[in-house]
């Protein structure tokens, strides 16, 4: 005979599923499920005006790396595609490093304020976090573009004689992405530093460490989980960025996100777009799994 507790446990598990079911249905219908469709579409044949024909084909996947030579119809390496992939990874990596370099001191600053002041500074970092990405990209663009506020100001003051041309450059894109994704770095760093036992610093100084050694040997190793979390949180959305490169990169300096968009717009190659989407998803999943494993490992030690 099942005891009362066993019965209660069975019922509790049933409740968990029953109560979660409506959310799971919506999430499956409008988030997880459609990804399967993308996978299927990546193995189909493109139709002439967008959409697909239901004929199995690997062209979509081949198209990521190869393209048909216009003259000989031979398969050749699709340089342009690889350049876009390389630029996406490179820019995402540089953005991650830059956000860390300015984000860590910021998070440290917030975490070492008095509780009252800390709440205020934290609120100031969360406002941009929740503010429309488009608006923020637009705002930074107004500052840095050729006829922007920065150039106007510098010309007026006479620091420069002609405007710094940033519009539609990788530099502009980089500035924009650092600006847009910085809060994603600061927040997890803050969460980790907030838990950091400041008495360890006293112990460190007591044992003759200087400030640099304190940073290198105590603070950074202990806050490693936060650094990894922040890096992932910046790197992953950077890689899939669409709005920021579209506005700041113009039509030429594309990243993967815009390249995918192109296949569903002018390119009219849905299978290629689908294959690119799945590729991006795989890269992101690998990054997230690596993160989970690292954090899991850290927790086992502690």
């Amino acid at each position: 005979m099942a005891t009362l507790e066993e019965e209660a446990e069975v019922q509790s598990r049933r409740n968990a599923w029953l109560l979660s079911a409506p959310a799971l249905v919506v999430l499956f219908a409008a988030a997880a499920g459609p990804l399967i469709i993308v996978l299927i579409y990546s193995f189909l044949t493109p139709a002439t005006y967008g959409n697909v024909e239901w004929i199995f084909s690997l062209e979509g996947w081949k198209g990521i790396v190869f393209q048909h030579d216009i003259f000989s119809d031979n398969l050749v390496l699709a340089d342009a595609n690889l350049v876009i992939f390389w630029r996406s990874v490179k820019l995402s990596f540089i953005t991650t490093v830059l956000t860390f370099l300015v984000g860590f001191p910021t998070a440290w600053f917030i975490a070492t304020r008095s509780p009252r002041a800390r709440a205020l500074w934290l609120f100031l970092i969360t406002i941009p976090f929740w503010t429309n990405l488009l608006i923020r990209t637009f705002a930074i663009n107004q500052i840095i573009r050729n006829e922007g506020v920065l150039n106007t100001l510098l010309l007026k003051v006479g620091v420069i004689s002609e405007p710094i041309r940033l519009t539609y450059t990788d530099t502009a894109l980089l500035i924009g992405m650092v600006y847009v994704y910085l809060p994603l770095m600061v927040l997890p760093l803050f969460a980790t530093i907030d838990r950091f036992d400041m008495r360890l610093l006293e112990a460190g100084y007591d044992l003759y460490a200087n400030r640099w050694q304190i940073l290198r040997r105590i603070i950074l190793p202990i806050t490693r989980p936060g650094i990894i979390a922040g890096s992932i949180l910046v790197f992953v959305p950077c890689l899939g960025a669409y709005v920021t490169p579209r506005i700041l990169g113009g039509g030429k300096n594309m990243m993967i996100g815009n390249f995918i968009d192109l296949q569903f717009g002018q390119g009219q190659n849905w299978p290629l777009g689908s294959a690119l989407s799945i590729t991006l998803l795989i890269i992101v999943t690998i990054a997230l799994l690596a993160y989970v494993r690292t954090i899991g490992g850290e927790n086992r030690h502690g």
Binding site: A16, A23, A31, W108, I110, N132, I135, A139, Y179, L201
Partner: protein, 267 residues
């Protein structure tokens, strides 16, 4: 030699960097807000205060239409996602780990992990097929899609509140002759209410901010404010976009402040 007192938590240059970061974060937004009140066409030179661009934006039927769409979608998506997230939070928190718990958590947080562009493409394929076969092109697609990616945001504060809730309160209610339903209605729900509102607030803001997914699955004429602005930016810079941005910014700020008031710990 005069020397500042030694503080163990001070690291050289950190405060300076932090100050510059905050300045850099806010300066562009301040400029944007200020220039939305600019009289002239130029987005870089100040020509005096005016509300012209707000008038221009407000007189524009496209903007009005987009505003209405944004508010309808955000409201419906917030209500739907918060209701679903509340149920899920009640189901998943406060019980011992069970088989499938990881799966449920992964499903709920899935929209946060998949790049938005990928979800957008996936939804484009699905909605295109449904639109073709059913002929329905209403706001329903956007509402359901928004509800889905708002669920993790609504779920977050509700789950946190439930996990922080003193379980003995419910035990005490049962001890005082409350049936399970009475316990939920009279104790759990009132205590959970602030978190539910906070979750709805985050869901609303999240829906209001979305560009990519909306851009991919909207039917013609279904612009929301962000997709309208994206369309405008593709063409020339227009100061009325500054005005719309400022209005959206203000709305976000109000909702966020409400959120903080609701979730603040009362001591």
């Amino acid at each position: 030699m005069a020397r500042r007192s030694f503080s163990v938590t001070d690291l050289p240059g950190f405060s300076t960097v932090a100050m510059m970061v905050f300045a850099a974060l806010y300066a562009p937004m301040v400029v944007l807000v200020v220039y939305s009140f600019n009289q002239g066409q130029s987005p870089a030179t100040w020509e005096g205060f005016s509300l012209d661009w707000y008038r221009v934006a407000w007189a524009n039927d496209e903007v009005k239409n987009a505003t209405v769409n944004s508010l309808i979608i955000a409201t419906c998506a917030a209500i739907l996602s918060t209701a679903l997230a509340t149920l899920a939070a009640l189901g998943t928190t406060r019980r011992k780990g069970f088989k499938g718990q990881t799966f449920i958590y992964a499903m709920i947080n899935q929209p946060l992990m998949v790049p938005e562009i990928v979800t957008a493409v996936a939804l484009l394929l699905v909605t295109a097929a449904i639109k073709k076969s059913t002929g329905y092109t209403g706001l329903g697609y956007l509402i359901v899609a928004h509800a889905a990616f708002c669920i993790p945001f609504a779920y977050l504060p509700i789950r946190a509140r439930l996990e922080g809730m003193d379980l003995t309160l419910e035990t005490a209610a049962a001890d005082l002759y409350a049936s399970p339903w009475q316990t939920f209605r009279r104790v759990t729900l009132p205590l959970l209410a602030p978190a539910i509102f906070a979750g709805a607030m985050l869901a609303f803001v999240t829906s209001l901010d979305d560009v990519v997914i909306t851009e991919f699955i909207k039917s013609p004429g279904q612009d929301t404010l962000p997709t309208y602005m994206l369309g405008q930016l593709r063409r020339a810079m227009k100061p009325d976009v500054n005005a719309i941005s400022t209005a959206l910014l203000a709305l976000t700020l109000v909702l966020l402040s409400l959120f903080y008031l609701l979730t603040r710990k009362k001591d």
